[in-house]
């Protein structure tokens, strides 16, 4: 009778619990990034903690990577030094974004994962109770290997049907957030299921869980199934897999049903993520910069579709194009597949794995009044380093096609259904996009 959240937390707290109970749970993975780690380390030092207890404790250098300023270089030094001394893992500059690295190599089904970064919920797609917390909470979890939770009530998101060509999981999650609002799931768990999710690739699932927090949710959970197994197996982690599903009679606070076939490509308008509208209402909006990357959409699947669209094409003269692979592995794979060459030829600049321009620390900061179409998860005022800038969010396909057009454009103009249900990018000069 348990939801995924209830089942995982019960196992990790050693007793059967249900929604609204307060539990103290074992922590499997405790993670920091370079923006929240220094404060966490100082809290640990204040408590004279010199060794970490959480089985996997990691510091990721990704937000300011490589460091653009000496203050941040000094923060990096602090994290390197502390992790060495305390027995934590260090993920160096260039290894990639925390959440991508966590799903690639660390988080597993049934785990409790806490991270000093709100998008830690990404690992929920693997069936881990993964949630973002502040520096002090993560520091304590790292130090004593435990943390406390109020077991969240769960909203079940039941998605059935097939996406139209040109529509992706990013559009689904933007659509959902637009529907329930940025606080539509505050304190709650989102649990995604239904035939669309069952058939969805792991990489597309990560997008859903990644953005659960944009509806206020504590976690964004997906059952661990065959797709999860294949993903972990391909990463040489088969032993980390185990099946995990909610009980048939689980108690949900609410069930929201979505027909995937009805969803159009979505765009989140500035300055809130829930300000989403179908692409038709953004069509024609001029963009000064297109950014493809981040823990939301900087994976190989994303780069593949973007490269397909950009192949043999050029970015619009007045539109800069920035591509950032989410991790070293994604970078390598994109290199092998020749995707990076496609981007460079299309006029893009490729930056090293990491957060890139996402959080406004460096790289690609917007000018006053400039518009960026980004594949990230957030478009808050000031997000890309300038409160006078405007950030729109969309899928990698929308982003890539818009880079060519120089304006927000509907990728359905070039993405068509091919043989065997595979999608195909229309190359014909007479394609609808050029009419």
């Amino acid at each position: 009778m348990g939801t995924l959240a209830e089942k995982i937390l019960s196992v990790k707290s050693g007793k059967d619990y249900s929604a609204n109970d307060i539990v103290i749970a074992k922590v499997d993975v405790a993670a920091f990034q370079d923006g929240t780690g220094p404060l966490g380390v100082r809290q640990l030092q204040k408590m004279n903690i010199t060794k970490v207890k959480a089985p996997t404790s990691i510091f990721f250098l990704d937000h300011a990577a490589p460091s653009p300023r000496r203050e941040l270089s000094n923060d990096h030094m602090l994290l390197r030094e502390f992790s060495k001394q305390a027995g934590a893992i260090l993920s160096e500059v260039g290894d990639g974004v925390i959440h991508q690295r966590l799903v690639e190599s660390f988080a597993k089904p049934g785990d409790v994962v806490i991270g000093g970064d709100s998008h830690t919920c990404t690992s929920g797609a693997l069936g881990a109770f993964a949630t973002g917390m502040g520096s002090t909470d993560v520091a304590i979890g790292m130090a004593i290997g435990k943390t406390w939770f109020k077991v969240p009530e769960t909203i079940r998101i039941e998605v059935n049907g097939k996406f139209q060509p040109g529509v992706f999981s990013k559009d689904l999650i933007l659509y959902l957030i637009g529907m329930i609002g940025a606080d539509g799931a505050t304190y709650k768990a989102l649990e995604f299921g239904g035939s669309t999710i069952d058939k969805m690739s792991m990489e597309s699932r990560f997008v859903l869980s990644n953005m659960a927090v944009e509806a206020g949710a504590k976690v964004g959970l997906i059952a661990s199934d065959r797709v999860t197994r294949e993903y972990l197996k391909a990463r040489g982690r088969l032993k980390d897999w185990r099946p995990l599903a909610p009980d048939k009679d689980a108690n949900y606070e609410k069930v929201i049903k979505i027909n995937a076939a009805k969803i159009e490509p979505q765009v989140a308008f500035p300055h809130t993520v829930d300000n989403t509208r179908p692409i038709s209402s953004a069509k024609g909006k001029k963009v000064s910069q297109v950014f493809i990357g981040t823990c939301t959409n900087g994976r190989i699947e994303d780069l593949k579709i973007a490269a397909k669209i950009l192949s043999g094409k050029k970015r619009a003269t007045d539109t800069r194009l920035i591509v950032v692979p989410a991790s070293r592995d994604v970078y390598l794979e994109a290199m092998k597949l020749g995707l990076l060459a496609t981007f460079v030829k299309a006029g893009a600049i490729i930056m090293g794995p990491g957060c890139g321009p996402c959080v406004g620390v460096h790289q690609g900061v917007l000018g006053n009044g400039e518009v960026c179409l980004s594949t990230a998860n957030r478009n808050f005022k000031g997000r890309m380093g300038n409160p006078e800038g405007f950030v729109y969010l969309a899928s990698p396909a929308t982003a890539a096609y818009s880079a060519i057009k120089g304006r927000i454009s509907d990728p359905r103009e070039v993405i068509k259904k091919g043989k065997k249900g595979k999608i195909r990018v229309n190359k014909s000069k007479k394609g609808r996009g050029n009419r």
């Binding site: 103290i24 923006g35 929240t36 203050e71 602090l78 000093g116 002090t136 406004g360 900061v365």
Partner: protein, 166 residues
């Protein structure tokens, strides 16, 4: 404990990016400097014009966005005595308690910019002296009250050696 001060009114959806902008990322290890920019992108006048003990008063979903604990930390460091809002984002809520910044959930429509307030954290009663009205507030969950009363999470763990929530 009774807190007294003036209200600084903000709208809905005040994100952690508005409270603690990413462009000051390099100041995160220099909290007093970072605190000079608190809420800068929501109200550029706030940091320089507020007085110690004033209240931040906002609408729905205050503190949404990133997990940066720097956000409640610099609000507290700037001298704000409590944040009053219709609702709070989850991570911000927990962070604020952990760093000892009191939060009060109440109907903030009845408070305007500059109103003189008296907030009693133990009874949860808010007196708007300017308007001469009283407002009730949601009380904190017990687990959080324990942490806040111990002076934040670090003090709580130091005191009990573990979580002591009930």
């Amino acid at each position: 404990m009774i807190l007294k001060g003036k209200a600084w009114k903000f709208g809905d959806s005040i994100s952690t990016d508005l409270i603690c902008p990413g462009r000051y990322f390099h100041l995160r290890s220099n909290l007093p400097e970072l605190a000079k920019h608190v809420l800068e992108d929501a109200d550029p006048q706030f940091a320089s014009s507020m007085s110690k003990d004033d209240f931040v008063v906002a609408g729905n979903n205050f503190g949404l966005g990133s997990s940066r604990e720097h956000a409640p930390t610099i609000i507290k460091l700037a001298g704000v005595s409590a944040v009053l809002a219709k609702s709070f984002a989850r991570i911000f809520y927990r962070n604020a308690i952990n760093v000892g910044l009191p939060l009060v959930e109440c109907d903030t429509d009845k408070i305007e910019q500059g109103d003189e307030l008296e907030v009693n954290l133990s009874t949860g009663i808010i007196r708007n002296k300017t308007k001469d009205i009283e407002l009730g507030a949601e009380s904190l969950p017990k687990a959080m009250l324990n942490i806040l009363n111990d002076g934040g999470l670090v003090a709580h763990i130091q005191k009990h050696g573990d979580f002591k929530l009930d």
